[in-house]
């Protein structure tokens, strides 16, 4: 299967500030990929590079085997819902469907209209009069109805209320099940991603800190609790991601393929959110130690 996204040394700078640096990723197709990281980490930059809204400053990126936005065929393969679900405030929903139909040869009009009908939206309503959740659903409809192979969403549920958020994710998963889409969606909330994603990329301070199938990540990371121990004295195949100590006790988060045989440790599973936070915290420590400047805040 062609990789959904392949990046090698990908970087994007604005003047002397790097919004994304040295990004190397292999994202398999047929997955729902979560891209998580704090605000300003470079998630939007990475997604914009993937859909061709930006061009790389260094490195390469390949989406579904082609260069992003290289031509109409490539554009048809990738659907995109940008942050805050932009729509034309002055155009009605019907106008938006016309837009999709006329600008996309692969447009599935029946699918689009069925979705709108099921959402209970009035076709003559102007997009500017819709609620945030309804606009997100409209943007999702436009993205899905052009029948792409990959759907990219930038923080699609960030500004939605819990009900709208749940409905959006329900619809998204239904579309994935029905059309076998690959999805890349970004969020700065891990809890959103846990249910829907099976592959995770952690982006902190413009760099990829972690990437892999969620099942594998959860299976290979463990929380070790036990008597106070210097993390450097652990076996080489156990990589310590984070460590905290009291005078008597050490709590470590380690990544290892092999089973942990030392009986002094109590071994527990790590939740996804704790896992991600540990990687974010590690990079913050690294940055402080290396004296690197603070994270670039992307101006929107």
């Amino acid at each position: 299967m062609t990789a959904a996204l392949r990046a090698r040394g990908l970087g994007r700078s604005y003047g002397r500030l790097w919004a994304l640096s040295d990004c190397t990723l292999d994202v398999p197709a047929g997955r729902v990929v979560g891209l998580v990281g704090p605000n300003g980490a470079g998630k939007t930059t990475l997604l914009h590079l993937a859909v061709g809204l930006l061009t790389p400053s260094t490195g390469t990126i390949e989406v579904l085997g082609g260069r992003p936005a290289a031509g109409p065929a490539q554009l048809a393969k990738v659907g995109f819902v940008a942050q805050d679900s932009p729509t034309y405030a002055g155009l009605s929903i019907e106008d938006h469907l016309q837009l999709g139909a006329r600008l996309n040869p692969g447009w599935d009009d029946a699918l689009a209209r069925d979705r709108i009908r099921r959402l209970g939206l009035d076709l003559t309503r102007r997009a500017g009069k819709l609620s945030g959740g309804q606009r997100a659903q409209l943007a999702l409809t436009l993205g899905v109805a052009k029948r792409p192979e990959l759907l990219v969403l930038d923080e699609p549920v960030a500004s939605l209320d819990p009900l709208a958020r749940r409905e959006f994710l329900q619809d998204l998963m239904e579309a994935v099940a029905e059309h076998e889409l690959s999805v890349v969606l970004s969020s700065h909330l891990v809890s959103d991603l846990e249910r829907v994603c099976d592959h995770l990329i952690v982006l902190v301070a413009s760099r990829v800190q972690l990437g892999g199938d969620i099942d594998t990540l959860l299976a290979t990371h463990h929380r070790l609790t036990g008597p106070r121990r210097d993390p450097a004295r652990l076996p080489a195949d156990q990589h310590v991601i984070s460590a905290s100590h009291t005078d008597r006790q050490s709590t470590l988060l380690v990544r290892t393929e092999a089973p942990i045989l030392d009986p002094a440790w109590t071994v527990d599973q790590v939740g996804l959110e704790d896992l991600v936070l540990a990687y974010m915290g590690q990079s913050a420590t690294d940055r402080r130690d290396a004296g690197r400047p603070p994270t670039l805040e992307v101006q929107r």
Binding site: L53, A73, L75, P86, D95, G106, K146
Partner: protein, 348 residues
Amino acid sequence: MIWLTWRQLRGGALTVGALLAVLAVVLGLTGPGLADDYSTTIAACSSQGGGCAGFVERFFEDNRITFLAAAAVVLVLPALIGVFWGAPLITRELEAGTHRLVWNQSITRTRWLAVKLVVTGLAAMTAAGLASLAVTWWSSPVDKAAEDFPRMEPLLFAARGIVPVGYAAFAFALGVTVGMLVRRTLPAMAITLAVFVAAQIAMPLLVRPHLVAPVRSTVEITPSNVTGFVRGPDGVLLVEATATSPDDWVLSSHVLDAAGHAVDAVEAPSSGPCAPSTAPAEEATGPEDDPQVAACLADLGRLGYRLEATSHPAGRFWPFQWYETGIYTALALALAGFCTWRIRRHVS
């Protein structure tokens, strides 16, 4: 894409359409009768032999407001198009973020912009063309009566014929380019207006006079072509005259002395008809009727004073229209080409 361009242009197009409709109604109500009135009355007053000057003046006065307003509409329309159709074309998408929606459809940015430029540009040129056509048609009898507004002079030149089409194309392309570079609507509109106005001022000042080599004519100053004769202090004379027909576009006009140098004022000879008279009287008649003035002018001619004018004759109206339209259209195409190339580099 053509559908989308039209759908997004609809609001602006309706506004311009409404303006054109109002123009059409106003001109349509009065226009058809004007030409007939003018020609029948001219025929009548010419045959009467009393001279038509009075009628012509009255005819112009009656229609002056509509005449000037119509010209104003044609002059302003390209600027409106540049500011309201051109500048927001790209900036509106950027400010609303909808470029992230439309540039992800199965159409490249280049094609998106090219279609928008062509469709909207043609609409702009059509609107300007229709306005100019209507106003030129309506104004043709009034132009003949408008002594202060010859067609060749910059003010009316820009409101007649086909140049408004070129202006509209240029203003539109300029607006789109500025919008693409500046990325915010209000500054783009302001800069577009400023640059367009500057271009419209620079054209008749710097470029149009040189499109074709102007005609230099030298004539003697006689009572029939003198327009002003004033005795200044210290015995200088300020003389003004026209060397050409009133419909020509005069670029410059000087009095030359015998050696061929241009002078602002003539040193009055201390004797002869031009000497200061002891009893200057304020006369109601113009200098062309005053025998004193006639004698003085003859004397000046003997001394070698003559009038030199650089001008473009009225007959060059259409060639100039074509050249200028060509220049503006070429500029518009160059700007459009630049935009289409540059849009690919745009950052999200």
